[in-house]
């Protein structure tokens, strides 16, 4: 009996040995920090010394009390909702147009996709050079007799500029994901439907949509998470301005809390970001799962 247990454990040793390095690194740098985030959010840690005090929920209260922090949360949420909608509608439309074979489709796919391999920070700087008050676009507008547009100098317009730039940079990836989803649908289904007299619209509604549903869910969740963590692009494009109007949650965590040694407050903002991400991710998944089930019926 005892011998049996020993043998059983001996058989497990190689597996455990092979699994443990990755598990240790992952726990240390990913899972433990998430738990620590909550602990640190209850303190006034400054990022350097290990002398810190517990302050209770003060950091959370000020995150909602401080108008600038609250604005950043609202802007991030708005950006995530609007951006996810725009990116996915655009990507699904483009993907259904170019999912077929042919050199033209492949070229267009490449052209829409390429910003993916450029750092968001660099894209932000590029668009800043194009959109700033004395930038390329405004000098073009003035040269043809139009008045310049305050792309980055008016708070409301700057928010739209950030949104449009993010969509420009990000919808190509979603397009590629949708194309992959469309290609994984067996061509036989379409052939059978065509033989049965189904038109283009009917085939899209009864074959494409239901079979694409899981890919739609994953792509929506991934774009949502992507928009919720917007930082580098804003840093380079608008610097969070004008007057802090384009600051996001991560922007505040890194450029206000981190830089000013208020890491306890930054940790509270991190926890809020984690909770928002979880609510959005789970919400979309549950909602979509019902949609997926309904379509299958």
């Amino acid at each position: 009996m005892a011998n049996n247990t020993v043998v059983k454990w001996q058989r497990r040793v190689p597996g455990l040995l092979m699994a443990s390095p990755a598990v240790v690194v992952y726990l240390l740098m990913f899972i433990a920090p998430m738990a620590l985030a909550f602990f640190l959010s209850l303190t006034d840690w400054n990022g350097y010394s290990f002398n810190f005090n517990f302050v209770g929920f003060k950091n959370y209260i000020s995150a909602f009390d401080n108008p600038r922090a609250l604005d950043a949360m609202l802007f991030t949420l708005g950006l995530a909702v609007a951006g996810t909608l725009l990116v996915n509608v655009l990507a699904l439309t483009v993907a259904s147009l170019i999912s077929g074979p042919g050199i033209g489709n492949a070229v267009v796919r490449t052209v829409f996709f390429y910003p993916y391999i450029i750092a968001a920070l660099i894209i932000g700087f590029l668009w800043n050079a194009l959109l700033s008050p004395n930038g390329v676009v405004n000098s073009l507008l003035t040269s043809i007799g139009l008045s310049p547009v305050p792309f980055l100098s008016d708070p409301a317009v700057a928010k739209v500029s950030v949104l449009v730039t993010l969509v420009w940079a990000g919808f190509g990836v979603s397009t590629v994901l949708y194309i992959a989803g469309l290609k994984s649908i067996p061509a036989e289904y379409y052939e059978a439907a065509t033989v049965d007299g189904a038109g283009r619209g009917a085939r899209f509604r009864h074959i494409t949509l239901p079979l694409l549903a899981p890919v739609v869910t994953v792509t929506i969740v991934l774009t949502l998470v992507g928009f919720l963590r917007t930082y580098e692009l804003v840093l380079a494009l608008s610097g969070g301005g004008p007057a802090g109007s384009t600051e996001t949650i991560v922007f505040q965590i890194l450029n206000t809390s981190f830089v000013n040694g208020k890491l306890g407050f930054g940790a509270a903002q991190s926890v809020i970001l984690l909770v928002v991400t979880a609510i959005f991710g789970l919400g979309v998944t549950l909602f979509r799962r019902r949609a997926e089930a309904k379509v299958v019926d």
């Binding site: 598990v23 990913f30 590629v176 065509t194 940790a267 789970l282």
Partner: protein, 318 residues
Amino acid sequence: MAIEEAFVTTVTGRPTDVTLDTRAVRAQEHSRRRRRGGPDSLPLGAALIKWGFLGIGALIMLVPMYIMIISAFKSEADIFANPLGISAESFTPSYLVDALTTSKFNVVAAYGTTLMFVVLVNIFSIALAAPVSYVIARGRARWHVVLLLLFVSGLFIPGQATLIPAIFVLRTLGLMGTIPGFVLFETAHTLPLTIFLFVAYVRTIPREIDEAAAIDGAGKMRAFWSCIFPIMRPAVATVIVLTSIGVWNDFVTPQTILGPGSDLYTVTTGVNAAISQFSTDFTVVFPTLLLAIAPAIVFFIFMQRYIIGGLAAGATKG
């Protein structure tokens, strides 16, 4: 949890539908091309609308890049006077040479530093992820599923949200501001995607290979590294491509963990130090951006098929 479950059920549900190997994708495309005939092609009017729409879209995607490239070779006065064109008289490589040789930001050194980080993170990421993926893919116990969920859930967690507490961990370990600390954090954040893709791939490798290795007397570890790992080459290629792009483009991690005070600049932190959103000297901005983007574009041109193939593999299994 529900997302991860969905992920895992689709991973396990369609173990044979793996398109990681881009050659397989192309073969599939080929056979589809043969099967699809005339009835699917668009009528002329619809085709015109389609290509008009896509053409305008492609223009919007390419014009910023075009402006950046031509502006890198022009004087400031010329950038304003003629933003969309370039003439032989106004062309000058001197601003690009200035950006290459400026004392403010040594681009060549930054290429080297970033490349070193890319290589290190790739090595550690694969060395850690491959064995655990094999154990998970072959395991039938409950803890294997739990482990997979734990790793895959990381795909949906914003890395920046774990950065501040990770700084706490790194300070405790004395690794804050060091290259090992940076590589450790960066490696941990590549594990979710790497393990997800590896597990899906190992599941398509027949168990008979493991059994044959065991009969020949190889232990589990030996069987993996000498029999299974070589078969995983397409998945490893995908992972290297995606990890390399991620590390090359990362700005937040080097900026916070290595610190702006250190002399160690990656391409992104160096560009950030050299130009800011208040930079108005376009003869510095455009050449610097061109130098920062050039390696990524070259990499993209040669690896495009693998990049898109790898992402596609992730999506259809997700």
